[in-house]
């Protein structure tokens, strides 16, 4: 009898929890932004029992495609929405700031490049570290694939919209880029700041125009290369008012001062409020 009633109560409880968890916000997209959004979801769910926020990957464009088509509630992405997606009603929220830095193989002997030298390195006008005052060593450019958000930032900010040199190595992920740079003599690349900080033993950072990349340098406007992490919602596809409100509340939580200056900073990103000037579209 006792076990039976216990069983019954367990069943009743599980029904209750299913009913309570009916509210689900699904988040999809950028694997780079995934961890920080997952942290936000954990904190937000603590203060909102009964709400379930499911964060999954798929890639920046998958996030955008899905949110535009109504396949998920929130799409997270490193890149701006296309004109078509904006026309479909997709709305952007900048949630974090991501600083980027130049990195190189530790043996190249160059610690700083000017903006123009950085441009010439990647467009192929400079081909040897000797020309920059370093070792006599061929420059090996390691970049991301054409569809990558990092490459879009690099092309815009470092190359000023010129084409990359044809003579490049391409690696799929930032992790592979770091490994390639650390094992290839003469290699140079461009990654998020946190990846340099995590791999200081294997790769060297290169200052840009005399300024080393750091959170402070970005904050006080001395270091110009960064991008926004985006979260998109598509109000037109969110017919359920409760889900829509939950999604908007969640985004408001991510943008709250408490989360931005606490968890965001700790995770190696910068709060959006630190960057005063809104950049034009990448």
């Amino acid at each position: 009898m006792k076990t039976q009633s216990l069983l019954l109560s367990v069943i009743a409880l599980s029904f209750a929890s299913v009913a309570a968890q009916a509210q689900t916000v699904s988040v999809m997209g950028s694997t780079a932004l995934g961890p920080i959004v997952k942290k936000a979801a954990e904190e937000f769910m603590k203060s909102h029992p009964g709400l379930n926020i499911a964060v999954s990957g798929g890639g920046s464009m998958t996030g955008l495609n899905q949110v535009a088509a109504g396949g998920c509630t929130i799409g997270i992405s490193d890149v701006y929405a296309t004109a078509d997606q904006e026309k479909a009603g997709v709305k952007n929220h900048n949630i974090v700031v991501q600083p980027f830095t130049l990195i190189a193989h530790p043996g190249v002997g160059v610690k700083n490049v000017s903006a123009q030298q950085a441009e010439f390195i990647f467009t192929g006008k400079i081909n040897n570290w000797k020309e920059l005052g370093g070792k006599d060593q061929k420059i090996v450019r390691v970049i991301r694939p054409e569809s990558s958000g990092t490459r879009a930032v690099q092309k815009k900010e470092v190359l000023h919209d010129q084409d990359f040199s044809k003579d490049v190595l391409i690696q799929d992920s930032t992790g592979a880029v770091v490994t390639s740079v650390s094992t290839t003599p003469g290699a140079v690349s461009f990654v998020e700041l946190e990846h340099l900080e995590k791999n200081k033993a294997r790769i060297a950072g290169i200052a840009y125009n005399g300024v080393e990349c750091s959170n402070n340098a970005v904050k006080n406007g001395k270091y110009p290369i960064f991008s926004f992490g985006h979260a998109y919602i598509n109000p037109a596809k969110l017919t359920d008012a409760a889900t829509r409100k939950a999604a908007e509340d969640f985004l408001a939580f991510i943008l709250s001062k408490e989360f931005q200056e606490g968890t965001v900073l700790k995770a190696g990103y910068l709060p959006v409020s630190y960057v005063k000037s809104m950049k034009t579209q990448l």
């Binding site: 464009m61 569809s147 390639s180 003599p185």
Partner: protein
């Protein structure tokens, strides 16, 4: 050959079929359990049928999905946001710059073929000769050991080979032979692929030699041939259709491999023109060590990051369809080869 032909007729022999049937009837005791048995049989039958249908439906579904998305690149379909491309500008052009509206995939096709052929060049002879040694010359314990090692090698995930290549092979080649210039390219990719497909080729070649009737070997030796003559003139020719099947299946695995190749090949879509322009090294060295790209590496890099319905995304699906058809062609070819071998 006679024995093989006789096999189907004994299988259809009614006298043999009757034995299991009577046994089955003996084990059934009452009317009730016979009814249950009937239901179970029918149930099991429909479960198996459903499984088979699901597999067929999945394959047809994938083909239809890939075809729809792939042909969307060339047809003005409803979901398209980009422009409609012509076959010539996709399949006959080497210029790949999707952001500047150029979608030539010829360099990827050439890349896939080059790296596969390079890998086969070493893997096919060494795989077959390993099988010759293991099945025809080595002692029995070695045969068992080799089988297990080969099965183990087939089971290693490709990303492990890739990491090995990226962190060990590339720096090694670059430091030893290339005076520190980067080693990414066909050579490294073919090395990794070779290690991946040799186990497939060895296993299947071992099967091929084991399937040969012993009388062939014995006959050759009785007629006075040496061990070498028997292997080279009799056994290898006799097994050749199945050996070819082994090689073609290895080729199928090589052409479809994405992850490991992607990590060591350098992924440069402009490799053809880069190779033409750079004249500082001998042509063969340039071919082996210029960062290049294949169909699979490009797919794995770009597909998750392109907008659905764009010309870029559609062309990537067309590349996927091309790979699917190539693999299908390879499988059909092995079927034909296998049939030739059985007769």
């Amino acid at each position: 050959m006679l024995m093989l032909k006789a096999m189907p007729s004994t299988a259809g022999d009614p006298a043999r079929d009757a034995v299991p049937a009577t046994k089955m009837r003996l084990s059934i005791h009452s009317e009730g359990s016979r009814g249950l048995r009937f239901l179970l049989d029918r149930g099991a039958h429909s479960v198996f049928l459903a499984c088979a249908l699901v597999v067929v439906a999945l394959i047809v579904g994938i083909l239809v999905f890939l075809s729809l998305r792939g042909f969307a690149a060339f047809l003005p379909l409803a979901g398209n946001t980009g422009r409609t491309l012509s076959f010539a500008e996709v399949f006959l052009s080497t210029e790949w710059a999707p952001s500047s509206d150029k979608f030539g995939i010829l360099s990827f096709m050439a890349g896939s073929l080059s790296v596969t052929m390079l890998a086969l060049l070493v893997a096919a002879p060494s795989g077959i000769l390993t099988a010759v040694f293991v099945t025809l010359l080595a002692p029995g314990w070695m045969k068992t050991l080799m089988r297990q090692v080969m099965d183990l090698l087939v089971g290693i995930p490709s990303v492990v080979y890739g990491i090995f290549g990226l962190t060990f092979l590339l720096p090694l080649i670059s430091a030893k032979w290339l005076k520190d210039s980067p080693a990414a390219g066909f050579f490294a990719a073919a090395c990794i692929l070779m290690v991946m497909i040799v186990p497939t080729i060895v296993s299947l070649s071992m099967d091929a030699f084991e399937a040969l009737p012993r009388t062939l070997d014995e006959g050759a030796l009785a007629l006075g041939s040496t061990r070498w003559q028997s292997i080279w003139r009799v056994l290898i020719p006799a097994a050749s259709p199945r050996l070819l099947t082994a090689v073609v299946l290895g080729m199928g695995r090589a052409i479809g491999e994405a992850m490991a190749v992607q990590m060591v090949i350098g992924n440069n879509p402009a490799w053809l023109s880069l190779m033409r322009e750079a004249t500082d090294r001998a042509p063969l060295i340039r071919f082996l060590f210029t960062p290049a790209a294949t169909l699979t590496t490009e797919l794995v890099q770009e597909l998750p990051n392109t907008a659905a319905g764009s010309a870029w995304n559609n062309v990537l699906f067309a590349m996927g369809l091309l790979l699917f058809l190539m693999t299908m062609g390879i499988i059909l070819a092995t079927r034909r080869l296998g049939q030739r071998g059985a007769v």
